[in-house]
């Protein structure tokens, strides 16, 4: 718009009653676009201008309802659905305990809505570019004088003649209002680009600062998360010992309960002589034996113990265990093989515990018997 064109006019009055008289006069002259300006809200001025009560109340009510709903559902969802914990034996949805937060959110939402609604939606503030601010009366209008504002859009309005209609009234002055091009920051609209840029900048700054603090600030000692533990964790090295192993091997020469040293390392035959299979032959023991066999023995010796294992290509082929020699061996003799190994076969003492070795032998016996079954076995 052009700079010269006035957007309206303001008439200055001394007392509220003069102002009302002025308004009456303007109304008599058929003005419909007018408003009063005062340093404080004048009681009953709404009625004078024929305005009903503000509708802000509905905004507040709706927002309050929204807050209530959100609070209740959020608390229900968190406590009963997403994070259902037994806390003090209380029900998951302990409604009495959820009332306080619900109330607070109701108040928060509806008061936020009230304030934002009043400032931005209903009053369309900020109006840093309002032409009134440029009026010479604005100082008085914010202090102790009263103004009547006439809008240039009013059909009855004309810059030259309007002043005359207030003759005979207690006026202190008349001033035409011109809209000047507003400064980029003090914009009419809250959604002006510079303002939004500023807003975004602040938001970015705050969030990144927060992130930094939470991400790194918290981890600086002594603000730790108990990641650093003073104890020695399993499988960790310790400088307390020359060899740096944290988990200590038993002192040589000690005998642990249930782990008598195996004396036949050198003399497998003696083992065949002395040792008897302590494990009972039961279904469960055979089953476990089969499982162990499948894990440790089958790859080389094959499912049937007939040396047709899956690894035979890669490894030296073991002898079949159905040879009369193998079948002739006492359990202890086989035990010795499992324990200290034989020829290409390594020791399995570190992988299969003692009971399991005996169970495997039981299963092996079953295999042998099944493989070359005799007449009486079928009975």
């Amino acid at each position: 718009m052009s700079e010269k064109e006035p957007v309206g006019a303001v008439v200055l009055f001394k007392t509220p009653d003069d102002l009302v008289a002025g308004i009456r006069r303007a109304q008599d002259r058929g003005f419909t676009r007018l408003d009063s300006v005062s340093p404080y809200p004048i009681h009953k001025m709404d009625e004078v201008l024929g305005k009903g009560p503000s509708r802000l109340g509905y905004v507040a009510a709706i927002a309050g309802l929204a807050g209530t709903t959100l609070a209740k559902t959020a608390q229900w969802w968190v406590s009963a659905v997403d994070y259902p914990l037994n806390i003090g034996g209380n029900p998951l949805f302990s409604y009495p305990a959820f009332i306080p937060v619900t109330f607070e959110l109701m108040v928060l939402f509806s008061s936020l809505a009230t304030v934002i609604g009043m400032l931005v939606v209903f009053n369309r503030l900020p109006q840093y570019g309002s032409s009134l601010l440029k009026s010479k009366f604005i100082r008085d209008l914010t202090c102790d004088k009263y103004g009547l504002v006439l809008d240039a859009a009013d059909p009855k309005f004309s810059p030259d003649t309007t002043r005359a209609i207030f003759d005979g009234l207690e006026t202190l002055g008349f001033d035409l209002l011109y809209r000047e091009r507003p400064s980029p920051f003090f914009s009419q609209r809250i959604l002006s680009v510079p303002f939004l840029v500023l807003l975004a900048g602040v938001a970015l700054l705050c969030s990144s600062a927060t992130r930094l603090v939470f991400r790194y600030g918290g981890a600086v000692p002594p603000f730790n998360f108990m990641k650093a533990q003073e104890k020695l964790n399993p499988q960790h090295e310790s400088n307390a010992f020359p060899d740096k192993t944290g988990m200590r091997p038993a002192v040589p020469g000690t005998v642990a309960r249930g782990l008598l040293p195996y004396p036949y390392a050198s003399d497998a035959e003696a083992a065949g002589r002395d040792l008897v299979n302590p494990a009972p032959v039961t279904t469960s023991s055979l089953v476990r034996g089969r499982d162990r066999y499948a894990i440790f023995c089958q790859p080389c010796h094959g499912r049937e113990a007939d040396a047709r294992g899956t690894l035979t290509a890669a490894f030296p082929k073991p002898p079949t265990l159905h040879s009369s020699k193998a079948r002739g061996w006492m359990d202890g003799r086989i035990y010795a093989v499992l324990t200290s190994g034989q020829n290409a076969m390594p020791s399995y003492a570190s992988q299969i515990n003692r009971e399991d070795r005996w169970l495997i032998i039981h299963y092996l016996r079953a295999l042998q018997r099944a493989h070359n079954a005799e007449e009486r076995d079928l009975k």
């Binding site: 404080y40 809200p41 959110l105």
Partner: protein, 469 residues
């Protein structure tokens, strides 16, 4: 009917009937002036103690809670006492600005702005305590229900979480309430800003307010709604603070009367604090005729009333403890009165119940020195009330084997002093840069500011369209 005249309170709210311009003058001028040495001295004092307090908090965060006197069984002590104390202080503001507004007590207009400011500062002061009171304050954000990659949530059954919501809501709403009230005054300040810098700041803060009636219309409505919302809010806040104690099973904490009792106590202490500061400010800024003796007298009446309510609560609490017939319950209160902390209880009763009774006499209500002394004593007493509730209930609870005594350390005292420093620093900055009295509301309540037309005559006027200028 002239005998009836003195029953109908005819004394004006503003003495010397100044013109509206004078009111602006008196309120706004101190802000332009360079502050005097007294202000600087006060500022230095409070600022220093604030710094000390803050550094002690930092040191605690670095070393650990062990720096305080807290122990087992007294896991909560000074910081919680201070927290409740300051939150309580923060209640007078909203009460004056919201509840008295709803009761159309016009005398509130002159003091509302100030009281609201004190509310905000008190809540800020109080809010520091729950954070620094945590064993691991660097995880304070865990108390907020923030969706996180650990899929953890907070426990909405915990009064501390309620507290979090209550206090943040209260702070937000009071801040908005205060700021809304400030906007027209800021507009006025904008027009009489001493320097250009002032002008720009006031312009930005006043949102280009011009005082059009169509703005006032929604403005007043918003103010009313906020008042209506703050009234239950202010009650809820200290209620929830009282829940922190009352929901527990600890005898001396678990009492159903605590909510109303705490709210009354909060208003009580809040009014006392507002009085204390107001008496000084009104003298320092020569506002005796805007904040008249009648204002102070009315506040003293509220102090007396709330003191009686608090006294009632003490009595009923003690009686119910005896009435319960439970040995542990009875012991707790006997121990409160006659135990090792008997002096705290005695001090509390003296300051909160006995001393305010002087306000039965008009003479005491209307003369500065007595009311000043009373207000300060009430502050002391209310601090000790919280001390009595928190410490004496904890230090001897169920199992005698775990009984113990609590001894505060120097750090505790330092932080307490620091909190006062923080509060008064903020107050001093406020009176320096913002109108401590709502010019708008005082003007609006002046006789010459009213329309003399009778309401009936202005029903059914034609509706005017809105102007866009």
């Amino acid at each position: 009917m002239n005998k009836a005249a003195d029953i109908l309170e005819a004394t004006p709210m503003v003495l010397g009937s100044p013109s509206l311009a004078q009111i602006d003058q008196e309120v706004a001028v101190p802000m332009g002036r360079i502050p005097g040495p007294t202000w600087w001295a006060a500022f230095a004092l409070s600022g220093l103690s604030m710094l000390m307090g803050l550094s002690l908090m930092g040191y605690t965060a670095y070393r650990g809670i062990g720096l305080w006197g807290n122990n087992s069984p007294v896991f909560w002590a000074f910081p919680i006492v201070n927290f409740v104390f300051w939150i309580g202080i923060g209640h007078a503001g909203t009460l004056i600005s919201a509840i008295l507004f709803l009761f159309r007590q016009r005398w509130r207009n002159a003091i509302a702005r100030f009281a609201e400011a004190m509310t905000i500062f008190a809540v800020m002061t109080a809010a520091t305590f729950p954070v620094m009171h945590m064993g691991r304050p660097w995880l304070a954000h865990w108390v907020f229900p923030i969706p996180n990659d650990m899929r953890l949530w907070v426990n909405f059954r915990s009064p501390l979480v309620w507290d979090l919501f209550a206090i943040s809501t209260y702070f937000t709403v009071s801040l908005m309430f205060w700021y809304i009230g400030l906007i027209p005054d800021l507009a006025a300040m904008r027009e009489r800003a001493p320097t250009n810098a002032h002008r720009i700041i006031y312009s930005i803060l006043s949102w280009g307010w011009t005082g059009l009636n169509r703005h006032w219309r929604h403005y007043e409505r918003a103010y009313l709604i906020l008042a209506g919302l703050s009234t239950p809010l202010v009650v809820s806040v200290h209620t929830i603070v009282s829940f922190d104690f009352a929901t527990s099973v600890i005898p001396g904490w678990h009492a159903t009367i605590l909510p109303p009792y705490f709210v009354a106590g909060a208003v009580f202490s809040g009014f006392a604090m507002v009085l204390t500061v107001l008496i000084v400010v009104r003298k320092a800024f020569h506002m005796e005729h805007l904040i008249t003796l009648r204002h102070l007298e009315n506040m003293n009446k509220v102090v007396l009333a709330t003191s009686l309510i608090v006294g009632y609560a003490y009595c009923v609490e003690l009686f119910t403890a005896w009435y319960s017939g439970e040995s542990i319950e009875r012991f707790t209160f006997l121990n409160r009165v006659t135990g090792p902390y008997w002096w705290a209880f005695a001090l509390m009763v003296l300051c909160n119940v006995l001393v305010p009774q002087v306000h039965w006499f008009r003479k005491a209500r209307t003369s500065i020195l007595p009311m000043f002394v009373v207000s300060i004593l009430v502050n002391v007493g209310m601090w000790f009330e919280r001390f009595v509730i928190v410490v004496t209930s904890l230090h001897r609870d169920f199992l005698p084997s775990s009984w113990g005594m609590y001894k505060p350390t120097l750090v505790d005292f330092g932080i307490l002093l620091g909190s006062f420093g923080l509060f008064f620093t903020l107050v001093l900055v406020f009176v320096r840069f913002l109108p401590a009295i709502s010019m708008t509301e005082v003007k609006a309540s002046m006789p010459q500011a009213q329309l003399s037309v009778h309401p009936e005559e202005i029903i059914g006027q034609p509706e005017m369209e809105e102007v866009s200028v």
